[in-house]
């Protein structure tokens, strides 16, 4: 797993639960004292150890950690860069949903060894979609649900995301209101 993904878990644990929680999780997972390097490849087993350690330490489920990590990635205080990169995907939330098929390739344009989940969006009705998720480790759908919930908020739409009962690693998305709230500002140019 790419260091950026492990680093996202680190950012979430530190951001939401504090540096002490991260120290405990990192120690239990056997992360070296130098911490996680953003531009390095790690064995998937390390990611699994991080998730197990976080589950034990935060007393919560694997899906909950992945979902919170996904949401934190987009809405956390230091995630403006990533939020903006995602917003380039579409001018509205529907556009954004359709851009998810390109997410992995978009990420690879920036970091060519970054293996993000493979996503496929299918329309299931005028306001409903199914998103298939695939990744090298299980639990991808939970991570993506976290990202989608935060992005729906960012675009100001009212939408429901749920794990599919009929397809494994799939998310059912229902859009209720395209302009539910103002959403967050997004200018193409970075505000300096």
């Amino acid at each position: 797993m790419h260091g950026l993904v492990n680093k996202a878990i680190q950012a979430f644990v530190i951001g939401a639960h504090g540096p002490d929680a991260w120290d405990a999780v990192a120690t239990q997972a056997g992360v070296t004292p130098d911490g996680i390097e953003a531009f390095a490849q790690y064995d998937d087993a390390l990611t699994e150890r991080l998730l197990s350690a976080a589950m034990a330490h935060l007393n919560t489920s694997r899906d909950a950690i992945l979902e919170d990590t996904g949401a934190f990635l987009v809405s956390g205080p230091s995630s403006e860069a990533l939020r903006r990169l995602l917003r380039f995907g579409g001018q509205d939330f529907r556009d954004f949903l359709f851009s998810l098929d390109d997410l992995r390739d978009r990420a690879r344009l920036a970091v060519d060894d970054l293996d993000l989940p493979v996503l496929h969006l299918h329309s299931a009705g005028p306001n409903s979609f199914v998103l298939d998720c695939g990744w090298t480790i299980p639990g991808c759908a939970a991570l993506v649900v976290g990202v989608l919930r935060a992005m729906a908020d960012d675009y100001g739409v009212l939408a429901m995301m749920d794990f599919s009962d009929t397809r494994p690693d799939a998310i059912e998305i229902t859009l209720f209101d395209d302009a539910h709230s103002a959403g967050r500002e997004f200018e193409l140019a970075v505000v300096r």
Binding site: A110, L188, A189
Partner: protein, 335 residues
């Protein structure tokens, strides 16, 4: 596949939001919405392109297109309204004196232009890769930022490692820090030992005439000689530049020190081959022993060996001198 199609203004605005249509007289008849945005509120209709733009290309203006002599031309326009952007595009003669159709693009000016004019995704045709380009610029900056942080972390770690290193990279001998640690340990266990301070003679000449690579080769060779001429538990260190220090544990007899020093000097005087030529150096050695002090201290030992070294240099280089530690020095040490 032939003939003409008709597009109304709305369709043209969506497909080519930076287009501009000139009528048969060569004045602007219509402009796309994004081009209008670049000209803020200025009314463009009815004006000549030269009035709105510095037309860099074609150099002879749009006359040939208007006259129908050429069917199409690449164009490059710089807005005269102070906007910092270079517009490039294609101009097509409409034929029959109907004017010229020009489609423009922001090209590489896009990054600046979105900021200047507050452009949004809706200002670009959906086939335009402008937004993807902007995405890439931001992704690149984010990655570069992370890479820079990695870089500074690595270089900090590297200098810390160098600081903590005990070995001189070039010669493989101990460095100054390694030397001090070894001397501290000897003093702490009250060992008897001697310090030889070696300074190379004519090293500067080698460096100046044959270059630094030759100088480095000489220093490496000196490292080998000192390793050869000392026993396993002795310490050989490069104290800096062309200065070396040898510490001999359990040895304090000036006669033995002289024999060893003379042997080292003889070895140093063997010409060192480098790149088809021979480097000739020598060395001067000053020495002191721990027995000369009631309470030996590193600085004092090195200082006294250094004074002896300069006595050896004054005596004509390539020789050995023992430090002369008087009674006064001894009492000063114990004071």
């Amino acid at each position: 596949m032939s003939g003409t199609i008709e597009l109304n203004g709305g369709a043209l605005a969506a497909l080519m939001p930076m287009h501009m249509i000139l009528d048969g007289d060569g004045v602007v008849r219509a402009t796309g919405p994004t081009l209008s945005k670049i000209f803020a509120d200025e009314d463009m209709v009815g004006r000549a392109p030269h009035d709105l733009f510095d037309v860099r290309h074609p150099a002879d203006g749009l006359e040939k297109l208007l006259a129908g002599y050429v069917p199409r031309q690449k164009v490059r326009f710089y807005p005269r309204n102070g906007a910092r952007c270079a517009l490039k595009g294609e101009a097509i003669a409409l034929g029959g004196g109907q004017g010229v159709f020009i489609n423009l693009s922001l090209g590489i000016s896009i990054v600046d232009a979105v900021r200047q004019f507050g452009l949004t995704q809706r200002d670009f045709a959906s086939t335009d890769l402008a937004v993807e380009l902007l995405y890439l610029v931001e992704a690149k900056n984010a990655v570069m930022g992370e890479a820079m942080r990695l870089n500074s972390r690595l270089s900090a770690a590297r200098s810390k490692a160098q600081e903590q290193a005990l070995t001189d990279m070039l010669t493989g001998l101990r460095n100054r820090r390694g030397l001090n640690l070894a001397l501290e340990a000897l003093i702490a266990k009250r060992a008897v030992f001697s310090v030889l301070h070696i300074d190379l003679d004519f090293f500067k000449t080698v460096n100046d005439t044959l270059g630094h690579a030759a100088g480095d080769e000489v220093l490496r060779r000196v490292g080998e000689i000192l390793t050869d001429e000392t026993r396993g538990h002795d310490i050989a260190a490069r104290a800096g530049g062309d200065e070396f220090v040898v510490v001999l544990e359990g040895e304090s007899d000036p006669k033995v020190l002289k024999i060893l020093s003379d042997r080292i000097i003889a070895r140093l005087e063997e010409p060192i081959p480098f790149d088809g030529t021979l480097c000739k150096i020598s060395g001067s050695i000053g020495a002191t022993t721990s027995r000369s002090y009631r309470y030996p201290a590193i600085d004092q030992l090195l200082h006294d060996a250094d004074v002896a070294l300069y006595a050896a240099k004054d005596a004509g280089k390539g020789c050995f001198r023992m430090a002369e530690i008087g009674h006064e020095d001894d009492t000063r040490q114990t004071a």
